[in-house]
């Protein structure tokens, strides 16, 4: 029983992080109609940027280090678009896919060159935390859940209350119609990159808090985010949120049935299954 509860809690935790990844991925899909397979590297660089500002010589405390880390990740996301994807707006999907994969490879190797391949942590000592219903919960984990909730609230407010957020949803719905309505689509696309990069950075930091830093951390988790957006209906942000949480649960409850060693295979399995089946219910949200 305790093991089951612990698995559910771990599922929620992983789900929160995947949800942040998936929401960022689906935002870009919405406005630009392609899956940014380099999103994982925004996640990874975001986490390492924080590391950069928290380690010596700077040694800033986390809340302060977060600000430059977020800014640098946004800058990376915007440059990705400006130098890699923007010149290819009229190109076909295969070209975009190959570009994104190439970029992902380049950025991953860049990180490895800079920081090496070894595992790193932010250097917090793992506090014991509390026991609730016999499951152990650390302060880090509470922080992960609360941060995710704040992110979801901010995304909701931006998309449904701000003019630029509404414009972004309009561009996702129909780019041509948005243009003829007079919406500045370039600015809107830049805003989508800012949101997507911010979500990647925060998600990456949370992941690193929960586990550790490593140049391959983005790529592995991108598969999960991709499975989540397939599950939630590509381009649908709230679907991505739910999809992420479902994947988190599926992984952590799945290991109750099959061996722990196959944990990462579960999201992969779901993804392959969804790609093969494409049940229309899961794809129904886009008009």
């Amino acid at each position: 029983m305790t093991f089951l509860l612990q698995s559910i809690f771990n599922g929620l935790l992983a789900g929160c992080i995947y949800a942040l990844f998936a929401m960022g991925l689906t935002l870009i899909y919405g406005v630009l109609n392609f899956v940014n397979f380099a999103h994982g590297e925004l996640i990874m660089w975001g986490a390492y940027f924080l590391y950069l500002f928290m380690e010596s010589p700077l040694g800033l405390p986390l809340p302060i280090a977060l600000i430059p880390a977020l800014c640098l990740t946004i800058l990376l996301g915007l440059s990705m678009d400006r130098f890699a994807f923007k010149p290819l707006r009229q190109a076909n999907r295969l070209t975009l896919l190959i570009t994104a994969l190439g970029l992902s490879f380049f950025l991953r190797n860049g990180a490895q060159l800079f920081w090496g391949a070894e595992l790193r942590t932010y250097g917090f000592e793992i506090k014991r935390g509390w026991k609730i219903f016999n499951i152990s919960i650390t302060t880090n984990q509470i922080a992960i859940i609360l941060t995710t909730l704040v992110c979801i609230a901010v995304v909701y407010l931006l998309l449904h209350r701000s003019r630029i957020g509404k414009s972004m949803r309009a561009v996702s719905d129909n780019l041509e119609l948005a243009r003829v309505a007079g919406i500045n689509t370039r600015r809107t696309i830049r805003f989508a990159w800012i949101m997507s990069s911010s979500l990647a950075c925060i998600g990456g930091i949370l992941l690193a808090l929960d586990t550790n830093l490593q140049p391959g951390m983005g790529m592995i988790n991108l598969v999960k985010a991709f499975a989540a957006i397939l599950l939630g209906g590509v381009g649908n942000i709230w679907g991505a949120l739910l999809g992420g949480i479902v994947i988190g649960f599926a992984e952590n409850l799945g290991v109750l049935i099959i061996s722990t060693g196959y944990k990462d295979a579960i999201a992969f399995g779901i993804m392959v299954l969804l790609l093969l089946l494409k049940p229309p219910i899961l794809y129904g949200s886009q008009d």
Partner: protein, 237 residues
């Protein structure tokens, strides 16, 4: 004669595919002009070229005498040209209210947008009733009303309308045309593309027949309605 819009010898298409091979039309202020023609003759392409979604390869497009063929749609909206595309002409996942807000983007100031929305709601109470609903869940007729309302937000001088009656019931089409007529009475000019042309021709002051990307005929709406060739080829009789 004063012209509001003059399209002169325009060549346009998609990439290497040329669809319009030198089309010319002109529209006077407060006119309703209709373009009819068979499937694939380039009617939609002509509207897209006028609004700037595609740029013409050759020819000129003048609006109030100034050349606009190189401008982007964003600029043309600000000059007072509204465009309602064929088919997907609303934002389905946005609410009715948000659709109207988006249409008001060129107005800039939120209070001006709010005022324009209030006027729209007075004119189309049905939209007021549905303002919080997702636009995608409206009925076909309501969607068309919303599309027209969205395009009217900026009080345009010229409205380009692509197949407004597509997929609508005859009664709903009649209502649609009544609305178009009343907007026209208040001073807006219309360029309407229709495939099932009878109702549009009855309303139109003048009309053009487009075929295979070329001008084929030009006359008053009445004239084309009674033209034997048009009757035979395009009015399905």
């Amino acid at each position: 004669m004063v012209t509001l819009l003059e399209v002169k010898d325009v060549y346009s298409g998609y990439g290497k595919i040329e669809v319009l091979h030198g089309v010319s039309i002109h529209i006077a202020p407060r006119e309703i002009v209709c373009i009819i023609g068979p499937n694939g003759s380039g009617k939609s392409t002509l509207l897209k070229t006028i609004v700037g979604l595609i740029k013409p390869k050759k020819g000129s497009i003048r609006f109030f005498g100034s050349e606009i063929s190189g401008k982007d749609p964003e600029e043309k909206v600000r000059m007072g040209i509204s465009y309602i595309p064929q088919g997907r002409n609303i934002f389905p996942t946005l609410t009715v209210m948000e659709n109207l807000e988006m249409g008001g983007t060129p107005l800039g100031d939120p209070s001006r947008i709010e005022m324009a929305i209030r006027e729209i709601f007075e004119r189309y109470p049905i939209l007021n009733k549905r303002k919080k609903m997702k636009a995608g869940s409206l009925s076909g007729g309501e969607k068309q009303v919303l599309a027209l309302a969205r395009a009217s937000m900026i009080k345009p001088k010229l409205i380009l309308l692509d197949e407004p009656s597509l997929g609508l019931a005859p009664k709903v089409i009649d209502e649609m045309y009544r609305q178009i007529n009343s907007i026209n009475q208040e001073g807006a000019t219309f360029l309407i593309v229709e495939q099932n042309a009878r109702k549009a021709l009855r309303l139109a002051h003048r009309a053009y027949v487009l075929d295979l990307g070329l001008n084929r005929l030009e006359d008053t709406g009445e004239g084309l309605l009674n033209n034997e060739e048009v009757k035979h080829l395009y009015l399905g009789r």
